[in-house]
């Protein structure tokens, strides 16, 4: 997968540097099984640094499994996985701390306050004096006034906003986002989107069921069919909405 970029000297230099690096994500024949059930079957793709990939597919098609493999949280059963220049799972230690992950769970302790949770994650990531960064992020997602509140008392949408702060706190190079706008109302989505969106300039992999929005955003698309097979992999513009709907219905795209 490659992007078309207007050439200017700075960009050309940056791209020359990037050309020497391996892709941000490289999958070759990725396979993942849970017991006898195949969750991902022969997934292959490459994603360059700074590019975005939207992953769509019906329930049980392996989207979350793919994201967890990329996040080093699951070991692949077979195939090759390269993330940020490291081969997984052997070199997982090289990418931990460089990934921002927003999953189905907010990864926040319910009995700690918003600020305590974020300070805890900042310490895990070795951030020195993180209070200013925490305050800035909470302000951006509209949660500054809730910083002293225990997470267990927050609504799902508010916890999701804090989870986004947690995921970007350490300024990761790669964002792995599993339905990042789930639970959020339009106003909250508008606040959160710039923090994790294209404007943030990071390499991104986003799992979404809102394939209309996902495909119109541009970048690249990976459509997984039932059983974790690859139904489509390529530029998002190359997958029509009708074909995407057909993949969700289980019909050949």
């Amino acid at each position: 997968m490659t992007t078309s970029t207007k050439r200017d000297p700075g960009v050309a230099e940056a791209r020359a540097t990037q050309a020497e690096r391996p892709p941000a994500i490289r999958l070759a024949g990725l396979w993942r099984e849970y017991g006898e059930r195949v969750a991902l079957e022969d997934v292959s793709l490459e994603l360059a640094w700074g590019e975005s990939l939207v992953v769509i597919g019906p329930n049980g098609s392996g989207k979350t499994t793919l994201l967890r493999v990329l996040a080093t949280l699951l070991r692949p059963s077979g195939g090759e996985v390269g993330v940020l220049g490291a081969r997984l799972p052997r070199e997982a230690w090289r990418v931990r701390g460089r990934i921002g992950y927003v999953g189905h769970e907010p990864l926040l302790y319910r009995d700690l306050t918003v600020a305590e949770n974020l300070r805890f994650h900042a310490r895990l990531h070795g951030l020195e004096a993180p209070d200013a960064r925490i305050a800035e992020l909470l302000e951006r997602v509209g949660m500054a006034r809730r910083r002293g509140e225990v997470v267990g008392n927050l609504s799902a949408g508010m916890a999701q906003r804090v989870a986004v702060c947690r995921a970007v706190l350490h300024e990761p190079e790669l964002m792995l986002l599993d339905e990042p706008l789930a639970h959020l109302d339009p106003e909250a989505s508008a606040l959160v989107d710039p923090v994790i969106g294209r404007a943030a300039g990071r390499t991104r992999v986003t799992v979404t069921h809102d394939f209309r929005a996902g495909l119109t955003e541009g970048g690249h698309a990976l459509a997984l069919g039932h059983g974790g097979t690859v139904a489509y992999a390529g530029p998002a513009s190359g997958l029509s909405l009708d074909d995407a709907e057909a993949i969700y219905r289980g019909a050949p795209g």
């Binding site: 996040a71 080093t72 949280l73 699951l74 070991r75 230690w93 931990r96 701390g97 990934i99 992950y101 999953g103 769970e105 907010p106 990864l107 926040l108 302790y109 319910r110 009995d111 700690l112 305590e116 805890f120 994650h121 310490r123 895990l124 990531h125 070795g126 947690r166």
Partner: protein, 222 residues
Amino acid sequence: MRAFTAILAKDLRVELRTLQSVPAMVLFAVSAFVLFRFGLDRTSLDGSLAAGVLLATVLFAAILAVNRVFVAERDQGGFDAIRLAPVDATALFAAKAAALVVYLVVLEAVTVPVFAIFFLDDWAALLPLALVLLLADLGLAATGALISSLATGSRARDLIVPLVLLPLLVPLMIAAAGAAEPLLAAGGPSYDRVATWLGVLGLYDVIFLLIGYGVFDFVLED
């Protein structure tokens, strides 16, 4: 080290805020002493019986905390959060074992005096007994943290922890009882073979701390 202190501080903060483990352990231990007092119909214990009552009570009270020590990590995503961070997973094991040691020390600070009031004629044994208990706590915490991490993903966690943990703790109990028995002897503490049993306790602690350090990375893998 920063991950160890962060996780330990987090666990102690949560325990102080929610009081989920230590009060239950204290209540259990005090209730057990009351039951022993009336069940044995004795107002004074010494030697092996005193050591057995004290250590068995501490061990069963500890299981209450061991069962819970990884629950928040499993239910609230702590395992994932720690594996996403650039930290050694053994920091989690060390922090959980340290948290269990703190819980056990608090438990014993409250309940050993209760035990002494109920059963001991002579309190002179309490100071050397503290060393025995501290070494026993280290082994109990190391083994408990390891088994709890293995069992935490299972729905039968409450069954698996005692089933697996108790047999592993038999050598620790033998050594701790061996050290405590002369200390709690009738007529005042004796130090016969105490050093030997303390050495066995220390060896047990080192072995299980090393096992935990060596295998914990694999425990956290999917």
